[in-house]
Amino acid sequence: MSPNTAMTATAPTAETAARKTSSGAEPGPRRRTGRIRRIGLPYLLLLPALLLELLVHLVPMVIGIVMSFKELTQFHIRDWGTAPWAGLDNYKVSVDFDAPVGAALLHSFFVTLAFTVLSVGLCWILGTAAAIYLQDTFRGRGLLRALFLVPYALPVYAAVITWVFMFQHDNGLVNHVLHDQLGLTDKPSFWLIGDNSFVALLTVSVWKGWPFAFLIVMAGLQNIPRELYEAAALDGAGMIQQVRRITLPSLRPVNQVLVLVLFLWTFNDFNTPFVLFGRTAPEAADLISVHIYQASFVTWNFGTGSAMSVLLLLFLLVVTGVYLVLTSRRRRPSHA
């Protein structure tokens, strides 16, 4: 093995650092010039990813921001560069909460916020509980683990369309069970229109989303040393104590990322409501993505739609920033 090993590592790990001291070798000068000559290589390797991210994400985002300052309706869509500037008009319309457009956006925002908080919370609880319960080996564990991942593996439209069938008023399973078999409701309910649609959307979202939390927590649990539990059990800690004192604290870094990712995905979710309700969602389940889609493509008002998207992005940026600051501040003392 080369004595130069330690020097080419970008961030020396404990292992390579130990090797360095034991071998006590200094980097050879020839090696160093080789590295300088290769300095372009990392950029070359990153180039495809960079170009694609630029084309599909960053440039469109900039254009989207520009569009939000333009008066962009169907008359200008073919040649959008010539659309007249609108200044802040699109934003004014979007946040004028006394007028119908702004009021509808605000309503949609609060619906999305409530939906996201509930969905992320439920997904996290179900996923964590299932992962902890499936930690010990018992008969049928592998089967359950595979079964629990099925909702996540199913394509969104296939899963959601099944739920659409189940939520049908006349021939759906949900009304059949609740009304015909259990007699819980006086008459069959409508699930995909009216106030119930929020519950329907939440159910589908949790059903589809919790296995992701399960998967991540399951992976996180495998990094907790078995000895910790054994030591705790010997000290007399019960199951609940072990979960509270060992499992949850050890999962904190995993949860920090998991909750953020779940929040962003759920808040931006378009697929579930779009397949569940179609182009126009019922008011009680009017998630922001579908709302903006409708404002843009159904009414062909791209300028206002873009302004709403920018506001949404700003909100998510602020939430993410605050979240990261708060969670990393809380983490630091525990590491010190």
């Binding site: 093995m1 990153l46 593996a153 296939a158 049908q168 021939n171 059990a233 199951m239 397949v275």
Partner: protein, 291 residues
């Protein structure tokens, strides 16, 4: 907690009864919640039409495979299937290759902008799809008008879009995974005369296969299931399953048995693939992202 310290000491590995019961109840309820829609999908796909238009019934009045034959003629399902296969397959291959290169650069080199790159790529996950849907739609239309390369409405445009969707997560996960492959290995390969790319493909990639498989599964599932861009950026010939499947319900009759059969048919490849490879996904997450 009713279990006394003594019982815990006596057998530290045997969980108390209350835990076993709570586990039994919780897992039973959860299994029910997960299974019912899957059961509805499977059983309804084997029902004759009157069974799914009238009141819901748990069991088919007669079991028929008729829906599985009819799905192919009611809508051009085979074409949608092929389109989805091409789009998702190509997006997966490209996404994985590009992610491998990027992750290798970030994992093995220190260079200016390294942190900016990872943060930027990851933060694209935050963008609401709707924000860049409209501009991307315009870019593709205008690029098409200017260069003659048809991106809008073509499979190529969709492939390009989808591969960037899975890219951030793939890069992020592979960085963690490559970090866990000892650098000594690629150093040894370089000493033996491999270039950096030789070391990547002969040493790092084979050692990181589980992570790469996991990333590929994720990329394929992402592309196979996407609805928003598919609904705007495809036309009759390039339509994918995500949009095509809704064709059964916009006709005068809603053939729920056929919808369920078609849903099942389009789900089987991804679900089977996912369940076969989920071991790798968990291993990849454990080694990479979750660390």
């Amino acid at each position: 907690m009713p279990s006394s310290p003594r019982t815990a000491t006596a057998s530290p590995m045997a969980p108390p009864r209350s835990f076993l019961w709570s586990r039994r109840i919780f897992l039973t309820l959860l299994t029910g919640f997960v299974t019912v829609p899957v059961y509805v999908m499977v059983s309804s796909s084997l029902k004759p039409l009157p069974d799914v238009t009238g009141e819901f019934r748990w069991l088919p009045s007669e079991v028929t495979i008729r829906p599985y034959i009819d799905i192919w003629s009611t809508v051009p399902l085979a074409r949608y299937f092929l389109n989805s296969l091409i789009v998702a397959g190509a997006a997966t291959v490209c996404s994985v290759v590009i992610a491998v290169f990027s992750a290798y650069a970030v994992s093995r080199y220190t260079f200016r902008g390294r942190r900016v790159f990872t943060v930027t790529v990851l933060s694209t996950q935050m963008f609401p799809g709707i924000l860049f849907l409209l501009p991307l739609f315009l870019i593709y239309v205008n690029l098409g008008n200017a260069t003659g390369i048809a991106l809008f409405g073509s499979r190529g445009g969709l492939i390009l879009t989808y591969l960037t969707f899975s890219l951030p997560f793939s890069v992020w996960m592979l960085i963690g995974y490559f970090d866990s492959v000892p650098r000594d290995l690629d150093e040894a390969a370089m000493v033996d005369g491999c270039g950096p790319l030789g070391a990547l493909f002969r040493v790092v990639v084979p050692a990181a296969t589980p992570g790469i498989v996991a990333v590929a599964v994720y990329a394929f599932m992402t592309a196979w299931g996407e609805v928003l861009f598919a609904s705007v950026m495809t036309n009759d010939t390039t339509r994918t399953l995500a949009v095509g499947l809704q064709g059964y319900s916009t006709l005068n009759d809603v053939y729920w048995n056929q919808i369920m059969a078609a849903s099942l048919v389009v789900s089987v490849p991804v679900v089977a693939g996912f369940l076969l490879l989920q071991r790798y996904l968990v291993a990849g997450l454990t080694a990479g992202a979750v660390k």
